[in-house]
Symmetry: C2
């Protein structure tokens, strides 16, 4: 059994990014990422902080824009429009979730698709579906693909089961895996799937993206499967100082022994997401120039 | 075994369309469809002819625009732009295939998404992926969904296998079937799938969209499955006056007996495609006003 080391692969991706930053700067392009944070959600603050810190580490200019939780939708749209025309900014990310009085889809659609490094704009969703590689792929599924590549996991003709059908992970993951050149046979399973365990047991590669702690147990996993755990769930744990521990969608202890390879949580998919955000920002900088 | 009668369902859809035309006209909206045909491909001429004829039958204004095969891309784009701003036109369809000197994607992207009744514009592809029902769904997969509904075929929790991953049928079909409220467990299989027969035998509902005559034989079909055959293939047949016969992707004679229900070719999915085009045109007219 191999543990898929997301930290190591993420470090490798960031080293690539650093080289690309150097090369962009030599051409007179200084890549920049704007991160907009609305309100004071602690988890969002942590995510935004990590993104800004990673930018600094690899030499990407970053601008953190913090706004109060009662900001109007109109004002937030204005901020996005300003960033769209700001030549110092190549990537724009509005941290999710937004307060309920703001229409998140409307904000995403206001972002210039050429700067939509989260890959959530409809134009980038369409490009993914249409297998047009000029678009931006959502960072988490892009990170999962990179892990499979780095560990030499063959996809062509393999059975992949993606559990979860969200637009952030499940669907883009399925679309990436079924695309020409990747060529997996992809099943999308979800909460309404009958006998989910039996469906998952078909998988040569199992992608868990359901958001339910440790629901993928040993009886869901075929001997020798590769398991990618996208879940990040907080579970109460009195033995931890902060009162909880992070766990994936997969029962790692119960499943690991029978896997060919598996991602841990934390240290698996998580670190890849920020690394792919950096990659997307540099792709945007390269395309915009 | 039930034969799924596409002609009958299509007639029902067209009757609904007729009523909607009457109601739109009462509100002062006269729905119109423009069909652009480039060159003299005989099959395209037949398709365009049927579309125009169906418009006439149900009271939709239609405009057939025939252009020479050597039309420039620029001129074709101009025609599309003119139709985009033409108040008499609510739906625009550029018949595929286009000559090779014209970038088909560019033409599709030039169509106003609000008039893209073929459902091929990236904005409509994104809406389908994002489960936004304000968009237009490609006519053939929409027609397949309507057949399943009309015959009371349960989809929630069922295993569906879609064979084929084209943007015209396979992918939109999979996205429709996995959407919330439809809730099928969907597998997308294709030419690179290992042991395609075994994968297909899992299907409660099997959608064949590969474009290979009669490749889905009895060993691909589970006893009691519902089979939807999207294929329309020409096979040489000296006994026919025209020298060929039309056949689906499914070996109907070999498969039918073990099915719960099956679409014939012709007379299955085929007639639904034009009916759903009419539906889309009326939806466009209703939305544009």
């Amino acid at each position: 059994m191999k543990v898929i080391d997301g930290k190591a692969v993420s470090a490798k991706v960031l080293t690539e990014c650093q080289a690309e930053v150097t090369s962009l700067k030599a051409e007179g392009i200084s890549p920049g990422l704007a991160v907009v944070l609305v309100g004071e959600d602690p988890a969002s603050q942590v995510y935004v902080g990590s993104k800004v810190k990673t930018c600094e580490e690899i030499g990407i200019y970053s601008r953190k824009i913090v706004q109060p939780v009662d900001i109007s939708e109109e004002r937030l749209l204005e901020i996005v429009h300003e960033l769209n025309v700001d030549n110092a900014i190549h990537g724009i990310l509005v941290q999710s979730p937004l307060p309920s009085h703001i229409d998140e889809a409307k904000i995403v659609e206001a972002i210039d698709p050429a700067k939509d490094v989260d890959g959530f704009h409809p134009e980038n969703v369409a490009k993914l579906t249409l297998e047009d590689s000029t678009g931006f792929v959502a960072c988490t599924p892009a990170g999962c693909m990179r892990l499979l590549e780095e560990y030499g996991v063959e996809t062509a003709g393999k059975e992949v089961v993606v559990v979860g059908r969200s637009m952030i992970v499940g669907k883009p993951m399925a679309l990436l895996l079924v695309a020409r050149g990747v060529d997996a046979t992809v099943t999308i399973a979800h909460s309404r799937t009958n006998d989910l365990a039996a469906v998952c047991r078909r998988a040569d590669i199992l992608i868990a993206a359901v958001g339910r702690p440790e629901m993928i147990t040993a009886d869901f996993v075929k001997e020798g499967a590769v398991v990618i755990d996208v879940g990040v769930n907080r579970v109460d744990d009195a033995t931890k100082k902060r009162g909880y521990r992070l766990t994936g969608d997969v029962d790692y202890q119960g499943v690991a022994a029978q896997c060919e390879a598996i991602t841990p949580v934390p240290g698996g998919v998580g670190p890849m997401t920020i690394a792919m955000l950096m990659k997307n920002t540099l792709k945007a900088a390269r395309q915009i120039g």
